[in-house]
C-alpha cells in the first residue's frame, strides 16, 4: 500500500514492525519524530511486547540498549549529533561486546557552533566505533534499511547505524510503500543472540582483556567486520527479491542515462567523470546529472550505501575504468578535506585516479543543483581544485592565503 508519510513516521513504523523488545531514547532534533512515534505505538499496543524507556541522556539510552540486547531483546535507539557523541563511549562498548543494536542516526552537524541542521559529521566521528553504517538516499530506503540492518546486525553480532539526513529526510514527506508486518515477519528471523545473560546458562560478559589477549580480540572483531560486506550484500539481495525494490547494498549503481537506481548498470568507463556521494544528496545528483548526460557530458553517479564496512571492492567495480572522481562530502576532516574522500582515496590507491573533494551542505546549507552542476562542469574542464567548498560565500572569509591568517570573528 502506497501512502504519504513523513520519513520519521516511516522509520518508526518499520522499526515497530521489526518487533523490538526494548526501545530506549533521549530526545534530540532531528531524531525526535521517530521516537515520539514509537512511544505512541508502545502506548497504543501497536508495538507489543516492547518496553519503551525514557532515559535521562543518550549515554544511558545506549547503555539501556546494551543491557537489553545482552539480556536477549532486540534493542533499538535513535539519536543525532551531540547525542551520538555524548553516547560515544557506549557506542564503542556495544560493538566490542558484539551486541547487534540498531540505531537510527538522524544526521546532524556537530558543534561548536551549535547547529541543528544536516551534515554527516556526527556519524563520521563514530566511523571507527565498530558499527555498520548504512546510508539512506531517500525515505523509502531509510525505512527499508532498518529491516536489512536488524537482519545483518544480528547475523554478524555487530551493531548497525542507519544514517538518514536530518530534516532533509526525517522531516520530509514522500509517497512510500512500507514493508508490512507480514512481510517483515517472513523476512526477519527472530532475535536469537549468540550470547545472553541467561540464568540457566550463566556467563560473564564484558571481562577485562590484558595485553596478552586484546590484540587478538580486536583481530577477531576485524575478521567479523570483513564478513560484514558479504552479509550486507546478501540481505540486501534477499530484500530486493522479497520486496521487489532496491535498498541497502554496499554501493548503489545508477543507469547512465536515466540516472535511475539500477544494480545492473554497467561500470563507469575511462572517459567518465564519476561523482561519488552518499545520503540524500544522491537524489539531488540524479536530478543534476541526468540533463548533463542528455547534453552528452560523460558523467556517472555512484552512491555509497554502506560506509562501514567501507566497500572498497564494490566501489572499484562500480567506478570501472574511470580515473576521474568527484566526491561530494558532507563532513570535513579539518586540515585535510572531505571525510568520505579519504576513504575513496584509500580504496583507489595506486590506480592513478584524480580525486576532487567537494565539501558541501555543512550544517544544513542547501546543496543546489546549479552549484553541483557548476562543480561538475569545472571538474570536466579541469578547473576544479582538489578541495572545493561548494557555495563558499565570497567575502565571508579573508582573501588568500586562507589559513595563514585568522578568520575575523
Amino acid at each position: 500500500m502506497r501512502e504519504v508519510l513523513e520519513g520519521s513516521q516511516a522509520v518508526a513504523r518499520t522499526v515497530a514492525r521489526c518487533r523490538p523488545g526494548v526501545v530506549c531514547a533521549y530526545p534530540i532534533s532531528p531524531q525526535t519524530h521517530i521516537v515520539e512515534a514509537l512511544s505512541v505505538m508502545a502506548r497504543t499496543g501497536e508495538l507489543s511486547a516492547c518496553e519503551y524507556v525514557n532515559v535521562e541522556s543518550e549515554f544511558s539510552a545506549m547503555s539501556v540498549s546494551i543491557g537489553a540486547s545482552a539480556a536477549g531483546s532486540r534493542a533499538y535507539t535513535a539519536t543525532a549529533s551531540q547525542g551520538l557523541l555524548y553516547m560515544a563511549e557506549a557506542v564503542y562498548n556495544a560493538a566490542g561486546m558484539g551486541l547487534p543494536i540498531v540505531m537510527t542516526v538522524a544526521n546532524r552537524a556537530v558543534g561548536a557552533p551549535i547547529n541543528i541542521w544536516n551534515d554527516h559529521s556526527d556519524a563520521m566521528a563514530m566511523r571507527d566505533a565498530g558499527w555498520l553504517q548504512l546510508y539512506a538516499a531517500d525515505n523509502q530506503e531509510a525505512a527499508d534499511l532498518h529491516v536489512i540492518a536488524f537482519a545483518a546486525a544480528e547475523e554478524l553480532g555487530i551493531p548497525a547505524m542507519v544514517c538518514m539526513d536530518g530534516f532533509v529526510l526525517t522531516h520530509a514527506t514522500d509517497v512510500l510503500e512500507l514493508a508490512t508486518q507480514e512481510q517483515i515477519d517472513a523476512f526477519l528471523p527472530p532475535y536469537s543472540p549468540a550470547q545472553a545473560l541467561d540464568i540457566e546458562n550463566p556467563s560473564t560478559i564484558g571481562t577485562m582483556a590484558g595485553p596478552e589477549s586484546f590484540t587478538e580480540t580486536k583481530y577477531l572483531q576485524h575478521l567479523r567486520f570483513l564478513d560484514a560486506a558479504g552479509v550486507i550484500e546478501a540481505w540486501s539481495e534477499r530484500f530486493r527479491k522479497a520486496f521487489g525494490r532496491e535498498a541497502g547494498g554496499l554501493v548503489a549503481r545508477y543507469d547512465p542515462d536515466t540516472l535511475d537506481r539500477d544494480g545492473d548498470a554497467p561500470p563507469a568507463s575511462a572517459e567518465d567523470l564519476a561523482v561519488v556521494a552518499m545520503g540524500s544528496v544522491v537524489g539531488t545528483l540524479q536530478a543534476t546529472l541526468a540533463p548533463m548526460r542528455a547534453e552528452g557530458l560523460p558523467v556517472r553517479l555512484v552512491g555509497i550505501g554502506a560506509y562501514r564496512p567501507f566497500p572498497r571492492e564494490a566501489l572499484k567495480a562500480a567506478l570501472g575504468d574511470s580515473r576521474h572522481i568527484v566526491v561530494v562530502d558532507r563532513a570535513l576532516e579539518l586540515g585535510a578535506g572531505g571525510v568520505l574522500t579519504g576513504d575513496v582515496g584509500r580504496a583507489l590507491a595506486h590506480t592513478g585516479s584524480r580525486i576532487h573533494s567537494v565539501v558541501a551542505g555543512l550544517g544544513g546549507r542547501p546543496i543546489l543543483e546549479a552549484s553541483l552542476r557548476d562543480a561538475v562542469r569545472r571538474a570536466l574542464a579541469d578547473e576544479l581544485p582538489a578541495l572545493d567548498f561548494l557555495d563558499l560565500k565570497a567575502g565571508g572569509v579573508p582573501e588568500p592565503p586562507v589559513g595563514a591568517t585568522e578568520v575575523a570573528r
Partner: protein, 331 residues
C-alpha cells in the same frame, strides 16, 4: 556430677554465619550449600571489604531470588579483580559494560526481562563510590526516578582505589589521597562531608534505601533480603574499608567499620519512600579517634596542627548523632 554452664556467646548478630542459631535464622553463609556467587580465585587485596560485602550481598540476593538473578557491574576494583579474561569469579550471569552506566545497563536488562515476561528474574547493579556518586550519578538518578526494578549496591571505599587512590566526591574531609596529598596548610581532602548518596537516594523517594557495613554482616544480609522482597528502585550503600587506600591493616576492615558506626561517622539506616524508617543505634559509643587513628590517610590529624581536623570529625559525628538520633535519646 556437677555441670558447668558455658554461655554460647556467639549467637548474636555479630557471630559470623550464626551456626548455633536455628536453621531458619542462620545466615546464607552458614550453609554448606551457600551460593558462593563471588567464588575463589579472584584477585582482591587481603582484607578487601568490598570483596567480602559483594559476596554477602550477592549470595543473599541469589538465595532470595532462588537463583534468578542477573548482575550489572560498573568498572572498578570489583570488576577488575574478578574478571580478568579468560577467568571469571562470578557464578550468576554477570555483565560489565562501562564505568558510568551500571544503573542504565541494569535498567536495560530489567526492561528486556519484563518485555520477555520474565519478571521472576531480578536485576542487581553494583559499583564503587566513583561509579555511583561521581561519574555514574546521572544514570543512577535516572534509574531511581523511573523506579526501575533494580537493586543498586554501592560499595563505598571513599575513593578511586582501582586507579591508585585518588579523591572521589565520597572521600571524607581531610583524607589523604593521591590527589589530595597530606601536605601544605590544609593537608588531605578539602573540608566537607563527602556526598551523601543515602540522602540523595532518599530524595528520589524510591521504595527502599539502606546503608550497612561489613561489621554487621547479618544486618547487611537482612537489608539485601528486604530489598529483594520489594519491587522498584532500591539502593544499598555499604561502607567498605580499603586497606590499600586507607592505609590500614588487612585485619582491621571489620573493626574500622564498627568504629565508623559506633562513633556516629557512618549512620546505618533504612528508609522507605523517602522517609527514615529505622536507624541502628550506637551500641557502645566510640570516639572518632578509634576510627581515624588506625588509618594512615588520617595520620596528619595526629600530628601538631591536626587538632582542628579532629574537631571537625567530632563535629561531624555529633551532627550525625543528632540528625539520626543515633543514641536513641541517651546522653
Amino acid at each position: 556430677m556437677s555441670t558447668v554452664h558455658i554461655p554460647f556467646l556467639q549467637t548474636g548478630t555479630l557471630a559470623v554465619g550464626g551456626r548455633l542459631l536455628d536453621d531458619a535464622e542462620r545466615s546464607v553463609q552458614s550453609h554448606a550449600d551457600r551460593p558462593s556467587s563471588l567464588t575463589k580465585g579472584h584477585r582482591a587485596c587481603q582484607g578487601c571489604a568490598e570483596a567480602l560485602a559483594a559476596r554477602w550481598v550477592m549470595d543473599t540476593a541469589v538465595e532470595a531470588t532462588d537463583g534468578r538473578l542477573v548482575v550489572a557491574n560498573a568498572t572498578g576494583c570489583l570488576e577488575v579483580f574478578s574478571t580478568l579474561y579468560p577467568e571469571s569469579a562470578w557464578k550468576p550471569p554477570w555483565i560489565h559494560s562501562l564505568f558510568a552506566n551500571a544503573a542504565a545497563v541494569a535498567t536495560g536488562i530489567a526492561s528486556s526481562l519484563h518485555a520477555q515476561g520474565r519478571d521472576d528474574v531480578r536485576v542487581l547493579a553494583q559499583g564503587g563510590d566513583g561509579g555511583t556518586v561521581d561519574i555514574g550519578l546521572a544514570a543512577v538518578s535516572g534509574m531511581f526516578e523511573r523506579n526501575d526494578d533494580v537493586l543498586y549496591v554501592c560499595y563505598d571505599n571513599q575513593g578511586y582505589m582501582n586507579t591508585g587512590v585518588q579523591r572521589s566526591s565520597a572521600t571524607p574531609a581531610s583524607a589523604r589521597t593521591a590527589t589530595t596529598p597530606a601536605v601544605g596548610r590544609h593537608p588531605g581532602a578539602p573540608q566537607g562531608t563527602g556526598k551523601s548518596m543515602v540522602k540523595i537516594a532518599m530524595a528520589h523517594e524510591i521504595p527502599y534505601v539502606a546503608s550497612a557495613t561489613v561489621a554487621d554482616l547479618r544486618d547487611l544480609e537482612h537489608k539485601v533480603r528486604t530489598a529483594m522482597a520489594i519491587r522498584g528502585a532500591r539502593y544499598l550503600h555499604v561502607l567498605v574499608p580499603c586497606p590499600l587506600g586507607w592505609g590500614s591493616q588487612s585485619s582491621e576492615s571489620i573493626s574500622l567499620s564498627r568504629a565508623a558506626v559506633q562513633s556516629g561517622i557512618f549512620p546505618v539506616v533504612e528508609a522507605r519512600a523517602g522517609e527514615l524508617t529505622d536507624v541502628q543505634r550506637i551500641r557502645e559509643r566510640a570516639d572518632v579517634e578509634e576510627y581515624l587513628r588506625p588509618q594512615a590517610r588520617f595520620a596528619h590529624l595526629f600530628k601538631p596542627g591536626g587538632e582542628d581536623g579532629l574537631q571537625r570529625w567530632r563535629a561531624l559525628a555529633e551532627a550525625n548523632i543528632r540528625h539520626y538520633d543515633l543514641l536513641g535519646g541517651r546522653p
